[in-house]
């Protein structure tokens, strides 16, 4: 089974091809009336095909299929089915090696073919002692880290595919949607399974592409198309850093294979250490882009323009955690670059706090969750920054479950309200959509950090690691980061229960027409919700602290943390009392946040926050407008750098660069003027002057040509006389 891991990405790829081709060639063109002009994916060829079908005597070629696409059943089977097959193979492979096997450090690599064979070159550019292989294989690798990612990516991916069947069922672009979603699964699995940086990058770019495609899924809506472009462009910035980092790794080690690179760095770190800080920072820029960290987080809230299952799968559970996965994968590098670690920790902590404060006042149900995601990703990077990579990955896993549950729950709410996303127009939905309510509530309790639910353990593990972290030269930093993390946890609990209060509790604030249409979602949507809610409760028990062998996930992931030669990393064994007091503090803060939100929004019907907003309009407005970061980017980068820079460049071009051609033209003009003068006066002067001289001479000589023979004879006689005279005289 472990030899079949290459099949895991292949199934969704096949699904993508089937869904995409069936959709492309089976989709009918829009009606000539243009009522559905937006859906013109059919293209020109299909128009002709449909017209010929009409000619062949099928007057009803354009039948009532606009609301329901053709081959919907096929898409419904192929889409989730391909991911189900991947899931089965993935779990088969994982259990083939066995959890114990992974914990003991077993891994398995399947090499498909040699991709970039550059041959062996010891001499070029690497540090002394490098391998110098210079080739890159298409190889898939399963070890404990990729096994963990694989498990939840395939499983959550499958659940969300199932959910999509219900959620997108009425959409005309159903086949396109599943094609993209399958393509995303393919790319994500390549990212997770890739055994080298280049294959990781292939998956990295693939998920970026699918993210773009799915954010802009409703491409006829301008804001969705714009959000897609924004995500793509912002990710380019990150990817630029990432690929520079990969180049650095390649230059330094002469290979991109994870096992070799990290093995070399861990076994003999000294020659590499000076370069690793730069490489780590570049890799982290990539992680910042993909995982929406400050200052590159701006695309993620806008990415909510995509369909809600997409937000759940790509922009909460899987793709955005790729950055954390990558940093955890490169933990050997990061541990050798303490300065880079400080940057990672500080960016993570700042992003966590920053996004959480924005989340406090947002009114769009998906926006709140989006900022929550950014905040939680900050948490994960904070964990990586303090060296707690397995704790970070633990939170990635639990986050995948509860955040997917939250997003899918939000999707269910939006579905029930026929597209309403403003929480000010919701309320009192608990009784009307109970399954959605209960699952959403469980997930909210989890993310808030209520004791004995999943995120309680994962966040607690992070906070404990932060509390006990040590940064050389900055003894105060861990305590500050801990305070930020704790405060953010309180904010998280607050904004999540503000969301729950406004959405599910109280009375309905929308129109009565909306109220009449509220309906619980079909079971294809509620069953995944329940599964995810269940996982949100139990998934934390793989990382229970204090108890002997309670931290199973830590043990499971321990092999990826290669011991580095000559680097003494003390493992903190905090006392039981310290652990418990940290837990107590976290629980208190979480419960406080929940209570405050309940008190203000459910019990007090929002009067206190309203009051506060009036008291501090500046603060409220700043938070509501997200610290004006988008506006600042708009001003600085779009108008300033892009447009202004464009204008400046145009000026430079018009004035400075054009000086060269213009100057050249002027010089040429001058030169040609001189040349013309030369030509006119010197060359022509010579020619004309010669001619004029000749003419003058000939005017003289022609006088001799009188036409009278006697004159000629006289001259001849005279000449003869002269010749004879001369002859006689000078004989």
């Amino acid at each position: 089974m472990r030899d079949l891991i290459w099949l895991i990405p292949i199934f969704p790829l096949a699904g993508f091809l089937i869904n995409g081709l069936v959709y492309l060639f089976g989709n009918r063109p829009p009606r000539p009336q243009g009522a559905h002009g937006a859906h013109d994916e059919g293209g020109h060829g299909h128009q002709i095909a449909a017209e010929s079908a009409k000619d062949l005597g099928h007057p009803h070629a354009h039948s009532h299929e606009e609301t329901h696409p053709r081959f919907a059943a096929l898409h419904s089977i192929v889409g989730p089915g391909s991911v189900l097959l991947s899931t089965l193979v993935a779990f088969g492979a994982i259990f083939d090696i066995g959890l114990k096997g992974f914990a003991e450090g077993h891994s398995h690599t399947v090499e498909l073919y040699r991709w970039i064979p550059l041959g062996v070159n010891q001499a070029v550019g690497q540090v002394h002692g490098g391998v110098g292989e210079w080739f890159v294989n298409v190889a898939f690798r399963i070890d404990s880290l990729s096994a963990l990612m694989l498990a939840f990516v395939t499983f959550v991916g499958f659940l969300i595919h199932v959910y999509s069947v219900g959620y997108m069922g009425h959409d005309r672009g159903y086949g396109r949607y599943f094609a993209y979603l399958n393509l995303f699964m393919f790319a994500m699995l390549v990212l997770v399974l890739g055994a080298n940086f280049l294959l990781l990058f292939v998956g990295w770019e693939g998920v970026g592409l699918c993210s773009y495609l799915l954010i802009g899924y409703d491409y006829h809506k301008k804001f969705a198309a714009d959000a897609g472009k924004k995500a793509f462009v912002v990710n380019r910035i990150g990817d630029f850093g990432f690929i520079l980092g990969i180049f650095g790794v390649f230059a330094l080690f002469g290979t991109l294979d994870f096992a070799k690179v990290f093995g070399m760095a861990a076994a003999n770190p000294l020659p590499y250490t000076p370069y690793l800080t730069l490489i780590c920072l570049l890799l982290f820029v990539g992680a910042c882009g993909k995982s929406a960290q400050f200052p590159l987080y701006v695309w993620l809230p806008d990415a909510m323009a995509g369909p809600t299952p997409v937000s759940a799968l790509i922009h909460a559970a899987t793709m955005v955690t790729a950055g954390v996965y990558m940093v955890a994968r490169c933990n050997v590098f990061f541990r050798l670059a303490p300065q880079a670690m400080i940057v990672v920790a500080c960016v993570g902590a700042f992003t966590a706090l920053f996004a959480a404060t924005i989340g406090l006042v947002q009114n769009d149900i998906k926006k709140v969750l989006a900022y929550s995601t950014v905040s939680q990703l900050g948490y994960m990077f904070l964990a990586c920054g303090v060296g707690a990579f397995s704790e970070g990955m633990f939170h990635v896993t639990t986050h995948a479950f509860f955040k997917a549950c939250l997003f899918l729950g939000a999707g269910s709410v939006i579905h029930a309200l026929n597209g309403e996303q403003d929480i000010r127009k919701m309320g009192g939905l608990a009784a009307k959509i109970p399954k959605t309510y209960w699952t959403f509530l469980i997930a909210s309790l989890t993310i808030a950090g209520v004791p004995f639910l999943a995120a309680f353990f994962s966040k607690d593990a992070i906070k404990a690691a932060v509390f006990h972290a040590e940064f050389a030269g900055y003894p105060w930093l861990p305590k500050l980061l801990y305070a930020v993390a704790l405060f953010t946890a309180g904010l998280t609990a607050f904004y999540m229960f503000r969301l729950v209060s406004l959405t599910f509790w109280g009375t309905f604030r929308g129109t009565s027409d909306q109220e009449r249409h509220i309906h619980e979602s079909p079971s294809s949507m509620t069953v995944p919700l329940m599964v995810l809610a269940f996982l949100s409760i139990v998934s934390g028990y793989v990382g229970v602290p204090i108890i002997e062998h309670g931290d199973k996930i830590g043990e499971f992931l321990a092999p990826i943390r290669l011991p580095i030669q000559g680097l003494a990393e003390q493992v903190h064994h905090a006392s039981r009392v310290a652990e418990l007091s940290l837990m107590a503090a976290a629980s208190t803060v979480a419960l406080l946040g929940i209570f405050l939100a309940w008190n203000w929004y459910a019990k007090g019907k929002g009067s206190t926050p309203h009051h506060l907003a009036e008291r501090f309009p500046g603060v409220y407005k700043t938070l509501l407008d997200k610290y004006y970061v988008d506006e600042a980017y708009e001003k600085v980068f779009v108008q300033g750098v892009a447009l202004g820079g464009g204008r400046a460049l145009w000026d430079v071009d018009a004035n400075l660069v054009d000086l060269i051609p213009n100057g050249a033209a002027a010089v040429t003009k001058g030169a040609s003027w001189v040349a013309a003068l030369f030509d006119q006066y010197v060359v022509d002067g010579l020619v004309n002057g010669f001619a004029n001289t000749m003419a003058a001479l000939f005017r003289l000589f022609r006088r001799a040509q009188t036409g009278r023979v006697q004159n000629y004879a006289l001259v001849m006689g005279g000449g003869l006389f002269c010749l004879v005279a001369v002859y006689l005289l000078f004989r």
Partner: protein, 101 residues
């Protein structure tokens, strides 16, 4: 008084000078032609005189040759005279100056 070759030469020179003078100064085309005949005959006299002096018949042969050519020349000259007269109604050579440069 013995007639020496010098006498012949002087006569020949005088004849030639008179002919040349006629060619140069006379305006009538016919007169010019006649003057040319004079010059030719002066040359003939010269040739014959030297032929006799040197006892070489070549000079006499040449003079006969010149006479023959002179006949042709006279024929062409007269033809030209007629042609000129038809064109210009005059025999004044000063009028016949269309070859002026």
């Amino acid at each position: 008084m013995t007639i020496t070759i010098n006498h012949y030469l002087v006569v020949s020179l005088l004849l030639f000078a008179i002919g040349f003078f006629g060619v140069l100064v006379r305006r009538n085309f016919l007169t010019v032609l006649t003057s040319i005949e004079l010059m030719l005959n002066a040359v003939n006299l010269n040739l014959v005189a030297f032929s006799r002096r040197l006892s070489d018949l070549t000079g006499q042969v040449f003079s006969i040759f010149v006479i023959t050519i002179a006949a042709g020349e006279a024929a062409i000259g007269l033809a030209l005279t007629i042609s000129l007269f038809r064109q210009r109604r005059t025999l004044n050579v000063e009028e016949a100056s269309t070859m002026r440069g």
